[in-house]
């Protein structure tokens, strides 16, 4: 008798993957990232040696020659030009930074001066060939400096850039509240 009672066989059929919830999550992430999408003229390399100061300035950065001064390096348009050396602050006694004396001549930082002169000549040649003011040389420099650097380093960079005919400076800062 028992054999006559047929037990229902449970068949374990394949269940499709529930991706509806995953779609919800992905859609929300996508919308958020679309909102944060941006193409800016300034790219900042995240580094412990480059902490930009926070400021209430609102002007949007524009394309210019990019000079980056971290606590250890000086870069022009992403290329390493010079390495800074550690020093001691004469007033506070704390750690400080400066350009090597061997790299300076008449208060100019020579490797930076040579690189900027090259950039200026290239920009002038492009401006002459295109005949357009838009592509011509404007003498503008985007300066990204670590907030802990002493003014003496910034001064040397600005003086050198001024000697290379770059007289307009744009200090890049982080927008604060």
């Amino acid at each position: 008798m028992a054999g006559l009672i047929k037990k229902k066989r449970r068949t374990f059929g394949q269940q499709g993957v529930q991706i509806t919830s995953m779609m919800d999550m992905m859609t929300i992430i996508l919308v958020f990232l679309l909102k944060s999408f941006s193409t800016e003229a300034v790219t900042v390399q995240a580094s412990s040696d480059l902490q930009l100061p926070v400021s209430s300035a609102l002007k949007v950065p524009k394309v210019a020659v990019n000079v980056v001064v971290t606590r250890t390096e000086l870069l022009v348009d992403g290329e390493l030009v010079l390495t800074l050396e550690a020093a001691k602050d004469e007033v506070t006694g704390g750690p400080s930074y400066r350009f090597p004396a061997a790299a300076k001549r008449d208060n100019k930082v020579m490797p930076l001066f040579e690189r900027l002169v090259q950039k200026a000549e290239t920009a002038k040649a492009i401006g002459a060939k295109t005949g357009s003011d838009e592509f011509g040389f404007k003498g503008q420099v985007l300066l990204q400096c670590d907030k802990r650097l002493p003014y003496s380093v910034i001064r040397d960079v600005m003086f050198t850039a001024g000697q290379a005919q770059f007289g307009e400076f744009r200090f890049v800062v982080i927008k604060g509240s």
């Binding site: 499709g16 991706i19 509806t20 995953m22 779609m23 992905m26 859609t27 992430i29 996508l30 990232l33 679309l34 944060s36 999408f37 941006s38 800016e40 300034v42 900042v44 930009l52 100061p53 400021s55 209430s56 300035a57 609102l58 002007k59 949007v60 950065p61 524009k62 602050d89 004469e90 007033v91 506070t92 400080s96 003498g139 985007l142 400096c145 670590d146 907030k147 802990r148 650097l149 002493p150 003014y151 003496s152 910034i154 001064r155 600005m158 003086f159 850039a161 001024g162 000697q163 005919q165 770059f166 007289g167 307009e168 400076f169 744009r170 200090f171 890049v172 800062v173 982080i174 927008k175």
Partner: protein, 176 residues
């Protein structure tokens, strides 16, 4: 009798949409910007061959406003002008909090803004300022000083815009 057709409901195939979203997300992650940047314009005084933009408005009264940042704090001076004839008590120096200028938060930026607002009341058309920091002053202090001299955020107009003080800053050679 005709066959009764049943229309089966097709389930939406979300797999191609998932593919698209999965490819878009890494691309958008690379180009997402979570920190906004801004710029502060400045020029060199007479050192570069480029004279720069120059003063915005021709001054009717002569005033060469200078802010010196040193171990004493801020010193406000103006050539060929008496900046604040009624101020006989505080003098031109804004000392640091605690008397020592050892870190950026010791500098009294609010007081600097207040004093410059009084100068602006007297010379409303002037917008230029010369900043003279000492060589050891950290760059962060210079940027915060430029913020304090650019506008007074405690005074706003009907459209909630901060009062403009001296937005054209020239950084001069430091004291040695």
């Amino acid at each position: 009798m005709g066959k009764h057709r049943t229309i089966e409901e097709q389930e939406l195939n979300l797999v191609p949409i998932m593919n698209l979203v999965t490819m878009l997300i890494p691309f958008l992650l690379f180009s997402a910007q979570f920190i906004e940047y801004a710029i502060i314009d400045s020029t060199l005084p007479a050192i570069s061959n480029d004279p720069g933009p120059g003063p915005v408005t021709p001054p009717t009264e002569t005033l060469t406003l200078m802010v010196i940042i040193s171990e004493k704090g801020f010193t406000i001076t103006g050539a060929e002008a008496v900046l604040d004839p009624e101020d006989t008590v505080t003098g031109p120096i804004i000392a640091c909090k605690g008397g020592q200028c050892t870190s950026p938060d010791r500098f009294d930026f609010k007081q600097l803004t207040k004093r410059l607002a009084r100068v602006k009341d007297r010379y409303p058309k002037h917008e230029d300022l010369v900043l003279i920091p000492a060589p050891w002053i950290p760059y962060e202090v210079i940027v915060l000083t430029m913020d304090a001299t650019r506008e007074d955020r405690d005074q706003r107009d009907a459209e909630q815009r901060a009062r403009l003080l001296f937005p054209n800053v020239v950084i001069a050679a430091s004291l040695e």
